[in-house]
Amino acid sequence: MQTLYNKLWKNHVVHGGADETALIYIDRHLVHEVTSPQAFESLKIAGRKPWRQDSVLAVADHNVPTTNRTNGIGDPVSRLQVETLDRNCEELGITEFKMNDLRQGIVHVIGPEQGATLPGMTVVCGDSHTSTHGAFACLAFGIGTSEVEHVLATQCLSIKKALEMQILVEGKLCPGVTAKDVALAIIGEIGTAGGTGYAIEFSGDTISDLSMEARMTLCNMAIEAGARAGMIAVDDTTIKYISGRPFAPKGDLWEKAVSYWRTLRTDEGAKFDHVVNINATQIRPQVTWGTSPEMVTTVDGRVPNPLKITDPVKRNDMQRALDYMGLVPDMLIREIYLDKVFIGSCTNSRIEDLRVAAEVVKGRHIAKNIKLAMVVPGSGLVKLQAEEEGLDKVFLKAGFEWREPGCSMCLAMNDDYLSPRERCASTSNRNFEGRQGQAGRTHLVSPAMAAAAAVAGHFTDIQNI
């Protein structure tokens, strides 16, 4: 009786103990422009070559502009970083989707979209949200630049086996409640360090009912709970999503692959180090009020009051967060007014996310106090699909801007950012201080909740729309 994590681990041990630190083989290496230049340079200085170029897929996403790209990247520092990726990939024969390629997009959107993420793989990337790919029963986790170089040079990583946590989510979600709300509710429950040292498997009937897009949202946020890896077993939904994608196997090979993939689930009775039970029926739409994803409550809730907290470290953290966020204790969440709305990021920029948001804004208009509402699709192909469905027109008519794909205002490395003290409803994953711009104020929500907030001008319960 084995867990999914254990099966994945055992299937990749090249050298070393099955239960401790081991040399693990890496099947897929995703690369972006920010965490790779120093790794490529170092590899070159050491006179080493990539072990297996065809395992690498590269794309520039963090720095790219989301407005008109015909004149390239304006900022010379960003431009150099993207050009450095282009040059490294050309020199080493690595497949890269360049900025003006229709397939370009956020690395964690394009991997699955291309079928470059397949069940049973180990997937790494110099990006913490690599946990996203665990939705396909992969062992997927973020690495630093030294490890990017290590994987390029050796196709392996020396890693310590994680503890195993099962998050069992059961029951039917209420209308308007999405995977994002489930993720935030879990983080609210276990905290941002709750998953530290663990690989999390999400299971239960609620998870089985989720689409692949929703599963990716959930696994994406595993890192916000402190877990490097999140994962979900293979089922028909997984297989159906992968079928026909460019990098996916075809014909006889497909049949062979599918029969193996179907074994990628935790055996009945297998033991976890820790189990968390979540009742999905109780989850309400979530809104973060502070500067950590665990600082979260429900849309019908209130901003907490530090005076009610006895632990001095926690009380100070809360007070500091409220000061930064410019919020008053006990105020209603739905009385928080917004300046900007961002729908995008590797958490929530897939076609399903855009459909849900468009459904909310259809026939409505953004409120007068909203200075900017923007939709940044996760990839060129998501953008195209949305345009074929007419979603771009729905957003534009409602007063949203319709942008080119990239990470954009999730981390504000390009021209999309909050000015000091601007308040944003964001479908991204981190509400840290300064994340979306210096002194910017981020509230994490689902795409539906962000769309509803854009229309109302303040947070409002999607369940009442």
């Binding site: 062979k256 692959a257 504000a412």
Partner: protein, 212 residues
């Protein structure tokens, strides 16, 4: 990687839990394609009152007098004392690069985020885990004693206070060896090149779809 011998250094306290990598090194500095020079941007949004951009001269920046690392008594600190879940957030190795470039050799906290913890060892920055109560005690002692320093001995796995109190810490033996000897981990892994090759060949036969 440089060898990590040990450190007898001044301690700077940063009394806050869940310090994330965006706070340690804000994203605008990640546009650099260099590996060095991040120290001057460490904790940029807390350390300075003006907004920092890559290339902006330090002489032109306005220091935040309220930020603890800007106090005279903590100049030249080599050990950063902080709270739980330090380094949460992104995988940016720029965070340990910035801490190290600033002059820190050791971090002491009750816990760390996994990726940051792992990255630190790769660059020769030693993240030490001490119990919450011990960290509390060191915070109090630092507060009361100007020039408070700790002696860190990696080989013995000890942190010794000025009063001679010895706190031991755990460390994975593989990581310890790598730090003590300044080993090239890629070189180490490549010693297994033939094993990697045969693993890969077998995989190519058993799961050919992984090699399309």
């Amino acid at each position: 990687m440089e060898k990590f011998i040990g450190c007898n250094g001044l301690v700077a306290p940063l009394d806050r839990a869940n310090i994330d990598t965006d706070a340690i090194i804000p994203k605008q500095f990640l546009k650099s394609i260099e590996r060095s020079g991040f120290g001057r941007y460490l904790f940029d949004e807390w350390r300075y009152l003006d907004h920092g951009e890559p290339g902006k001269e330090v002489a032109q920046r306005i220091l935040n007098p309220d930020f603890i690392l800007n106090q005279n008594r903590f100049q030249g600190a080599q050990i950063l004392l902080t709270r739980a879940n330090f380094g949460c957030g992104s995988s940016r190795e720029h965070a340990p690069w910035a801490l190290q470039d600033y002059g820190f050799q050791v971090i002491i906290a009750p816990s760390y985020a996994d990726i940051f913890f792992n990255n630190s060892f790769k660059v020769g920055l030693l993240p030490i885990v001490l119990k919450e109560g011990v960290v509390d005690q060191i915070f109090r002692e630092v507060d009361l004693n100007v020039g408070y320093s700790l002696a860190v001995n990696l080989k013995e796995q000890t942190v010794v206070t000025p009063a001679g109190e010895v706190h031991t810490f755990d460390i994975d033996s593989f990581r310890k060896e790598n730090l003590l000897n300044g080993l090239d981990e890629i070189g180490l892994t490549l010693q297994y090149a033939s094993e990697i090759k045969s693993f890969e060949d077998k995989r190519r036969i058993e799961q050919p779809w992984l090699f399309i």
